[in-house]
Symmetry: D2
Subunit: 102 residues, 4 copies
């Protein structure tokens, strides 16, 4: 099963700046060979369900290892069985319609 | 690694009423032997990371099997390594402070 | 427009224990006269869109006032125009079907 | 109060393809003069709290008007009082660290 995910990992108890944890998490996702795209409030990820979920777990493990006692994560995830769709096609579909096309 | 999760599964393309899918998902979680608590906008789940995630995947599989072509799910999940905490303790901690205690 | 919301407010930069902020937020919601129900990963809220949103803003203001430099909040919110539905009916609908009824 | 938001609006009961509703919602946000950035699982928005929230409400109103009987929306929103930060700076901060800088 393929999944498109939006992942936002928030370490708690490490102060107000969390970007180094976001960077570490991003490295974990890259090493996992997943397609990712960072945005201002999370990271889009696309891939096989089990591989994506294993990477999310590895992010939590890594961030705890870096010293964060607590993590709260928000995930949106989509699966579909009617047809294949990549995260780039999702954006394209909207952009094309905005341009007056279809 | 233990996780406390809030899970909200939304089937798309099956009409406006989605409660039968929520029921089916709840059955999957129960069969998995996980502690769960339904609320008005999702289900709290507590358990071992891998078992909880396997159950979430089984929910998606079940709901697709029931005919939903597409599913979008929102998950909040928390892990902590500083101490053990159950989902009942999280609620208790707030309720006790509201009562003027500590 | 009526809304059913799930609200989870996470103060960042105030250490690992956040329950006193959750308590303060809950008080703000109660004072606003909104129907609320706490669960292990947030609070369900039901009411008029503008009043609910004003209360969410008041929660952020209160928590910053208490010293949190940064807040990240996750919200799920539902509106429907086909019929009225309370947050208790949403839970009831699932529980009744689980009991073998309809 | 300034807010950085991630907005994901899901119309329910209108079939499996929801992109025309996403397009309509995006138009509402643009008309509101807000800075936005579409991604594969939502839209990043930056602006004054009240103006952003008014636009979210206008999105719900518009999508119901287009025929969707029910909408479920997932929002992440961040406020901070320690310093100003734009959504572009949030991404930049991560990208710079990835590049080995600081």
């Amino acid at each position: 099963m393929k999944v498109i995910m939006d992942l936002c990992v928030v370490p708690i108890g490490v102060g107000v700046s969390v970007s180094k944890y976001v960077v570490a998490c991003h490295e974990v996702l890259e090493k996992a060979g997943l397609q990712t795209k960072l945005h201002a409030y999370g990271t889009n990820i696309e891939g096989d369900w089990d591989r994506v979920m294993a990477a999310v777990k590895a992010c939590h493990a890594k961030i705890h290892e870096m010293g964060a006692p607590r993590i709260t994560t928000t995930i949106k995830l989509g699966t579909r069985v009617d047809r294949e769709q990549s995260m780039y096609e999702k954006v394209d579909s909207v952009v094309r319609q905005q341009a007056g096309g279809n």
